[in-house]
């Protein structure tokens, strides 16, 4: 019952992910895992995924199927997908068979898309996970990005696919919790941060997203060096030159720049899907509110 997926073309930062390699921060490894966890899970439910692994891609992904048929589910952002040249809906799932070509190109929105499978990806687990860490070069396919010529093997049997309603999405500012160094920023700077509009720069990857601070919220607000501490995904660091940078799933394990806030878990997926050039604003919430949002999304 083996299926082979031949990668014909892959956009930059295309990797194997699973739910992540947690618990190793003190050994110098951040957890990785999907940039948009919600979309990764939805793609898995659409596929009736047999395990917690899948492909995260950006921009484009073309693959050809060999061997036994398999159900593929896709979700995340809005891409355009075709099978053998015919348009298929996004998001969706379907069974593909030997010789079928799935081709994905960018659509109107989003950065990261996901493919999940009704079988298991046959890849070794490294330190308890198959997620690719682009920083530590671990997991996935030898710690590397997927590229044309790679072949993935799927084995086993999946679960029944689930029909799920499309994610209605959330608008509005990205919500955050004031950070472990917010008291180092003046009241004016903090107020300005919570009302200003930033833009997502082109310097974005699985490790971090740099923002453009056109309103100069942090100009001249530089803070002397801090003792470095562990960091978490969603932490909003202010670099020495005033550039705000949001740390993402493959973040550095520790950091010594001041952190004004941390994006809440419920909004980090949405933030990850913002394209370069998008406007973004931040709104403070309490930890209790962030937890209510998480629990209501169960």
């Amino acid at each position: 019952m083996t299926t082979l997926l031949q990668i014909e073309r892959a956009g930059p930062l295309t990797t194997i992910q699973d739910h992540g390699r947690f618990g190793l921060l003190q050994h110098g490894i951040s957890a990785s895992g999907p940039m948009d966890r919600g979309a990764f899970d939805r793609a898995g439910r659409r596929a009736g995924a047999a395990d917690d692994s899948g492909i995260e891609f950006t921009q484009t992904l073309d693959l050809t199927v060999a061997g036994e048929p398999v159900r593929i589910g896709w979700d995340g952002g809005v891409f355009r997908a075709r099978i053998n040249g015919l348009d298929v809906p996004w998001p969706h799932s379907t069974v593909v068979s030997k010789g079928d070509c799935l081709s994905i190109i960018p659509g109107p929105s989003g950065v990261y898309g996901y493919l999940r499978f009704g079988k298991m990806l046959e890849l070794p687990s490294v330190l308890g996970s198959r997620a690719t860490s682009s920083r530590s070069r671990l997991g996935g396919l030898g710690g590397r990005m997927l590229q044309a010529g790679n072949e993935l093997t799927l084995i086993g049997e999946g679960l029944p696919p689930q029909h799920i309603t499309d994610d209605p999405g959330t608008d509005g500012p990205i919500r955050f919790i004031w950070g472990v160094h917010s008291e180092h920023f003046s009241r004016d700077v903090r107020q300005h941060f919570a009302t200003a509009t930033f833009r997502v720069s082109a310097a974005m990857d699985r490790m971090s997203v740099r923002l453009i601070d056109a309103e100069n919220v942090f100009k001249g607000a530089s803070i002397l060096s801090l003792v470095s501490e562990p960091v978490m995904p969603g932490d909003i660091q202010i670099l020495g030159d005033g550039t705000p940078i949001v740390l993402m799933r493959d973040h550095q394990p520790t950091g010594g720049y001041p952190r004004i806030g941390t994006v809440i878990s419920a909004d980090l997926d949405r933030f990850a899907q913002l394209r370069s050039g998008s406007s973004v604003a931040f709104a403070p919430v309490t930890v209790e509110h962030a937890h209510q949002l998480l629990r209501s999304s169960l």
């Binding site: 947690f22 618990g23 190793l24 921060l25 003190q26 050994h27 110098g28 490894i29 490294v126 330190l127 308890g128 530590s136 671990l138 919790i177 950070g179 472990v180 801090l226 003792v227 470095s228 501490e229 562990p230 978490m232 969603g234 932490d235 394990p253 520790t254 941390t262 994006v263 809440i264 878990s265 930890v287 962030a290 937890h291 998480l294 629990r295 169960l298």
Partner: protein
């Protein structure tokens, strides 16, 4: 919330940070390391991860299950108990100092008005403590050297030094277990690798452990 000069604060919606000091000093580091070990030895419900660093401890919890107020309360109770955990492992690390293995050794020694031989003797004179880990896979910072052995970082960053590099700056010696960029002085090299992704846990040096550097010629 302050307990014995430690502050407990939220770090996002999935972690609390317990900070013992705003500046790096030996006592705050010892307290952070002891507290982390105590939390690891006697786990709190819904805590997923305890990450010690130089002067603080990150406590990651399950945001769908844990009540952060209750968790902060439990942490402050345990801070009051102020455990001091001793009896840590001693590791001997063989180092080739200087030459191609340590291109900055002469520079560092001359900054301290020492011959390279005298520098190595002073460097290896006392065992150091692993102050923190986590900067990169298997990377450790060891300290502290006495005040007469303190030099600042290099003016420029080397984009890459290889695994096994022995680094020196800021009164500390660090061991690189993977290839990394660094602004620290490269004074030697060891064949010891504190990172093996095929093993769990992948590192053998733990914060609080003692490290004795031995000149391998």
């Amino acid at each position: 919330m302050t307990q014995d000069r430690a502050t407990i604060m939220p770090l996002g919606d999935s972690a609390l940070l317990v900070r013992f000091s705003d500046t790096l000093d030996d006592e705050a580091n010892r307290r952070a390391v002891s507290f982390a070990h105590a939390l690891e030895n006697d786990a709190i419900e819904h805590v997923l991860d305890v990450v010690p660093s130089l002067v603080s401890v990150l406590v990651r919890y399950d945001p769908r299950k844990a009540n952060p107020t209750r968790l902060a309360g439990e942490l402050s109770l345990r801070l009051r108990a102020n455990p001091v955990v001793g009896d840590n492992h001693l590791h001997r690390i063989d180092v080739h100092f200087g030459g191609e293995d340590g291109p900055d050794l002469e520079d560092v020694a001359s900054k301290l008005d020492l011959s390279t031989q005298a520098f190595v003797e002073h460097h290896n004179a006392a065992s150091l403590r692993v102050l923190t880990t986590g900067f990169a896979p298997g990377f450790v910072y060891c300290g502290f050297h006495p005040e007469h052995m303190v030099v600042p970082r290099r003016a420029s960053v080397r984009p890459l030094v290889t695994a096994g590099s022995i680094l020196f700056a800021a009164g500390q010696t660090a061991i690189a277990a993977t290839d990394i960029p660094t602004g620290w002085h490269v004074i030697g090299r060891t064949s010891f690798r504190n990172f093996d992704p095929a093993r769990m846990p992948p590192t053998s040096l733990r914060v609080g452990d003692l490290v004795e550097f031995v000149s391998a010629g």
